[in-house]
Symmetry: C2
Subunit: 418 residues, 2 copies
């Protein structure tokens, strides 16, 4: 296969399809989502069989166990994937919404209209259900999509892609509105991220290495999600019941997610009253603690934290613990070691809560709540294409709105500029 | 001067200053703007003298006449520059505004808070008044700024920079919140656009060549403004009085601006009734017309347009003219040749107006209004740091909002994720 030529065809078709998608009504788009769900139901056996092929091959290869696990389409995952289509269909259509349409002194009316970005490129690994999720979100937001899954999931993704195409066609939308690359050639990624005429934005989903590589090489803007080194700070004016509840939940509710607590900061004045209790609960949950000297004086069986622990995104049952003097020292620590993802303060002190919200430069800042709330569903976005650790365009959980842009609309009656 | 080391110092100081700027109150920022205005008044003679030095040197060099003109700080330009500071002070402070703070089923309250981007790098040419404009907008939006003016304006810019520093210090803000680079070494630009730790966004202001070069080489996100090849389409259902008024104003009100009309499209059915009248008015204004064959049949003294004319941003009293069949052909032409800046339809036909607004993919789309309205002041932004032809983050005229981001804020009462 000539990859350059293949990607040129894909890019050109996507661009053409995106023009029809911009005009597609909410009704058409929802009908397509429904038709895709029906096609997936109809092809269920064939898709699961393709997935079994991928799994067998993956197990023979050198893929690590976690990747193989994510690759598997269990019955439950299949049903969730189909249910996701209905959830996206139920979301309001963002396209065409006009906001703030106001008269100006010149007589013109000026507002902003939400519009699709055009073509969205999504690069992901392993999990075949992302193919459906990503297709649904791009479709609903009026974009065309170029999806590039991992080579280990090629058969699964192609079986799903056939259903997506059928659904689009049945709803009268162009089948090229969602193209799933039919190659595992790595050069295809280079072509995709190197051509602003193919895609308007790239959303990489995967490990930090993949995302850093894509961000570095891309000539197309990237909505990127690097690491989530999240903090909870227990202030000396905290309600200690809330503090324990939040610190335990933020760490133990799930270990592998980007909004999981990785470093716990405690004000010196309350550390002695709260850390032993917390250490008990963490011990029961099987969480390994790594602390500063002061923490270890309070909880003697704690391991010593080294400088690298403060910067680590463990994604595992390990937690770094540090005693600080006050809010300022806590915010200094977060500034030095944090990744700008999500931080929470536990306090009943009004002004400190306000300062924390205003001064901590992270995509989510919280008062008296678990960091685990930082995701698109919990925030009410309905669905999530990813989490952005960038500041421009989209920040934090990215839903349909992050896949759109706003253009200016001007309504006049023959006005001219003086 | 060791440029790498110099830029490292500048970048580090900017980052430190940006933390204080994030916290600065609207009152402090407005006091600084006022103090800068007073410092400029006090140093007026010294600044104009520095500008005379720059002008003399520029005239001896090989700078083209337009650049030399823009370099000059006339008395009027000086007064406008100072008045601009008061206008920015009068704008509402965008920082800290929280929108859409709503309760979620989990009990948490979720909203978004507008926050500064951090450090803004601005690269511009010739006009020393940009130093003050850009400083004012960055300051008001709570950002630190690194300003890199043209080497031809170095003395003027340094004289202005001294006033900006004094104003900041008098208001109790860090003087490094606005740094004007004190070197004309080109490597400084490379260092600035190559270090995401120095700046969070780059705004280049200047010719297309400069902006393309910066966009290509930057490792920091760029808010870029390429060309403005703007169109007016006169529909066969247009009110022809409005059509003539708009088409003349859009071309002749100013020639060198990015929102100036460059190609006029006319529906065949009305071309014969409106083009001769338009041609008369353009002739009187000294505008050269370059038309398609059909246009030339209606206005015989018109020059023939070549393929390159359709893509040209003349920035001059030249206008391309083309007769088209209908709205679809007009939109096809715009799609093929336009630059996505600003397009206007003149029509009384409701559905065509609606289609044009929805389907034309430009940063500003207008009905029955002159393209010359596409700017920050006319849109009510109060001031403008530039015009973006990108789709991500900021699109069209960019005011204070484009220099900010939104982070998520979560207010809880001990809620944890189930």
């Amino acid at each position: 296969m000539d990859i350059q030529q293949y990607m040129n065809t894909v890019g050109t078709s996507a661009r053409t399809a995106s023009r029809a998608m911009t005009r597609a009504s909410a009704g058409d788009k929802n009908r397509a989502l429904q038709a895709i769900a029906e096609a997936l139901h109809a092809d269920r056996e064939a898709i699961l069989e393709a997935n079994q092929h991928d799994l067998e091959q993956a197990r023979q290869g050198e893929l690590d166990a976690a990747l193989v696990d994510r690759l598997e389409l269990t019955a439950g995952r299949f049903d969730d994937m189909v249910a996701g289509l209905e959830q996206v269909a139920a979301l309001p259509d963002p396209v065409g919404a006009i906001t703030d349409l106001n008269y100006r002194p010149s007589g013109i009316q000026v507002g902003r209209m939400r519009v699709p970005l055009g073509v969205v490129g999504i690069i992901y690994e392993s999990r075949p259900n992302v193919t459906v999720d990503a297709a649904a979100l791009c479709l609903k937001s009026g974009n065309a999509a170029i999806l590039r899954g991992g080579s280990e999931a090629l058969r699964s993704n192609q079986a799903i892609a056939a259903c997506v195409r059928r659904g689009l066609t049945e709803a009268g939308l162009p089948e090229d509105a969602v193209q799933v690359l039919d190659t595992s050639d790595r050069d295809a990624v280079g072509e995709l991220i190197g051509h602003p005429d193919y895609a308007d934005v790239i959303v990489p989903r995967g490990g930090k290495g993949l995302i850093e590589r894509i961000s570095r090489d891309a000539r197309v803007p990237v909505i990127k999600h690097l690491d989530g080194n999240c903090h909870v700070y227990i202030d000396d004016q905290a309600d200690l019941d809330k503090a324990v509840r939040i610190a335990v939940n933020a760490k133990t509710q799930r270990y592998g997610t980007c909004n999981t607590l990785e470093t716990l900061l405690l004000a010196r004045e309350v550390a002695g009253r709260v850390l032993p209790e917390l250490a008990d609960q963490y011990r029961q949950a099987g969480v390994e603690l790594r602390g500063c000297d002061e923490s270890r004086a309070l909880v003697p069986d704690m391991a010593a934290a080294s400088e690298t622990d403060w910067a680590e995104e463990y994604l595992a049952p390990v937690l770094a613990v540090r005693v600080v003097t006050d809010l300022d020292e806590a915010m200094d620590h977060i500034r030095s070691y944090g990744s700008g993802h999500t931080e929470s303060i536990v306090t009943e002190h009004y002004s400190r809560a306000r300062r924390f919200l205003a001064e901590v430069d992270s995509s989510s800042v919280m008062v008296n709540a678990s960091t685990r709330f930082a995701d698109g569903f919990e925030y009410g976005l309905g669905a999530e294409i990813g989490v952005s650790t960038d500041k421009l365009h989209a920040r934090g959980p990215v839903g349909l709105e992050g896949l759109t842009s706003q253009k200016w609309v001007v309504l006049g009656d023959g006005e001219i500029r003086q």
